[in-house]
């Protein structure tokens, strides 16, 4: 994905899978993960580097509370012409006040990454319009699901801008 702004969902999930593999090693299998993407979604276009920051957020906000039972589930679906990529964890969840701030203020997820949810949300809206972006659902002591909503557009290799 050299220098392109858009890549196929397939490639974005591959990067995410590699990232999760590394983090599993680093955190000595404190969590498991799954990636569920139907074949028909893999060749849709997605903005580069939008899924990995969401996964990174799930890991860093939940890891201290996962003791081998942590789960991170990435699911992809298409509904009514839109692409939904969800990252769900069974961590400690977030209070509503924090959820409301995440897309308004810049919270770098970890040092060295520098890409927060606000950044991801803004990038999606810049590309697709205000109807699209990041949706956060969280319940304390249950977990968090962060969903990216984008238009379901086939990747043709001409989207790089």
């Amino acid at each position: 994905s050299r220098g392109r702004s858009f890549i196929p969902v397939r490639d974005e999930l591959e990067h995410t899978r590699n990232y999760l593999t590394i983090q599993q090693m680093r955190y000595k299998d404190k969590f498991t993960y799954s990636i569920d993407a139907p074949e028909e979604t893999l060749d849709l276009a997605v903005i580069k580097l939008v899924v990995q920051p969401i996964v990174e957020n799930a890991i860093y906000h939940s890891m201290d509370f996962m003791d081998g039972e942590g789960e991170i589930c990435v699911t992809v679906r298409v509904e009514e012409g839109d692409l939904y990529i969800s990252v769900a964890d069974n961590g400690i969840g977030m209070p509503k006040e924090l959820v409301d701030r995440l897309l308004v203020e810049h919270f770098p997820i970890s040092k060295g990454s520098g890409v927060g949810l606000k950044n991801v949300n803004e990038r999606i809206k810049l590309y697709a319009g205000d109807a699209y972006g990041v949706i956060i659902e969280s319940e304390l002591d249950v977990g968090t699901t962060i969903t990216l909503r984008l238009p379901a557009t086939p990747y043709t290799g001409e989207e790089a801008k």
């Binding site: 050299r2 899978r17 593999t21 680093r26 990995q52 970890s110 060295g112």
Partner: protein, 294 residues
């Protein structure tokens, strides 16, 4: 001969034997009186552990060391320093990490009056110079084997542009032989340095930059060692590094220089690689390499 006369003869003989023994002992001791050798060491790069190594050997081998640091990146300055040390009467000269191509060209054109010992990752052979080689091919193979312990098989080689051609060539070959695919990225090309990847930094300064840029979301390996990496190695932010013992390089270089002064033929020493990671960095032998006493 009466008794008294016999005793006197024995006494005189004993005295003569004692004198003879003393004479021969003094002659022997005089022949073994230590010589002091003048060895010049030209440092074309920093190397604290290398200096500890050659200073340690110098003490053992009675070498008087004259250290010259060449900070000018122009490789001609290195051979100028060499010529000056030879002209000043050095018994032997050690060159540390001199430009191999330039040095090879100089050796081809010059007859050298004193033994030379060349130390580096690339050492030009021929013309009677001794070589102490930090074997990057062996380091790359060892690092590729270490990287094989994790499941990802695609690697990004990150080049800081600091003249790392031998390391890059060795790594490419070792990674391909180990079944990895790789791509080469400049350390300045941040857009291509993404999280969730396996990186191999071609030198310690690039490894330090990578840790700043990509934090904990990547696996970082490194060719080469610098004391600045210790904290990152301990924490696991650098998964492993491959290097050779700079201390040993300095020690062998000085020992070889003194041996050459004594008339021995030029030798070639290849230093074996070591792999350091958080699990072994405080255990011998790795600990003695990373933290030499000297």
């Amino acid at each position: 001969m009466g008794k008294a006369e016999r005793r006197m003869s024995i006494g005189i003989l004993a005295l003569l034997a004692l004198v003879a023994a003393l004479y021969f002992y003094q002659s022997f001791a005089a022949s073994r009186e230590a010589e002091v050798y003048g060895v010049s060491v030209i440092l074309c790069a920093e190397g604290d552990n290398f200096q500890k190594g050659f200073n340690g050997a110098a003490l053992e081998d009675n070498a008087d060391v004259h250290v010259v640091s060449v900070s000018d990146p122009d490789s001609a300055a290195q051979t100028t320093a060499l010529e000056r040390e030879l002209k000043n009467g050095a018994d032997a000269v050690i060159l540390y990490r001199a430009d191999a191509n330039n040095l090879g060209a100089w050796l081809a054109k010059n007859n050298v009056s004193a033994p030379l010992v060349l130390v580096g990752e690339e050492t030009p052979s021929g013309k009677g110079a001794s070589c102490v080689t930090l074997d990057v091919a062996a380091q790359a193979q060892a690092l590729a084997a270490e990287m094989g312990k994790q499941p990802l098989r695609s690697v990004i080689l990150v080049d800081g542009g600091g003249g790392s051609a031998p390391r890059l060539a060795a790594l490419r070959k070792a990674l391909e032989n180990a079944g990895f695919s790789w791509e080469l990225v400049s350390a300045g090309d941040m857009d291509r340095l993404r999280p969730g990847c396996v990186y191999v930094a071609l030198d310690p300064s690039v490894a330090l930059s990578l840790m700043e840029l990509r934090g904990e979301g990547a696996l970082v390996y490194c060719m080469g060692y610098d004391a600045a990496l210790r904290g990152a190695l301990e924490s696991g932010r650098i998964a492993a590094l491959a290097s050779a013992s700079e201390f040993d390089a300095g020690y062998f270089a000085m020992t070889e220089a003194v041996a050459r002064i004594g008339g021995q033929r030029a030798a070639e020493v290849k230093l074996a690689p070591f792999i350091a990671c958080s699990d072994n960095m405080y255990e011998p032998p790795i600990s003695t390499i990373l933290f030499p006493i000297g």
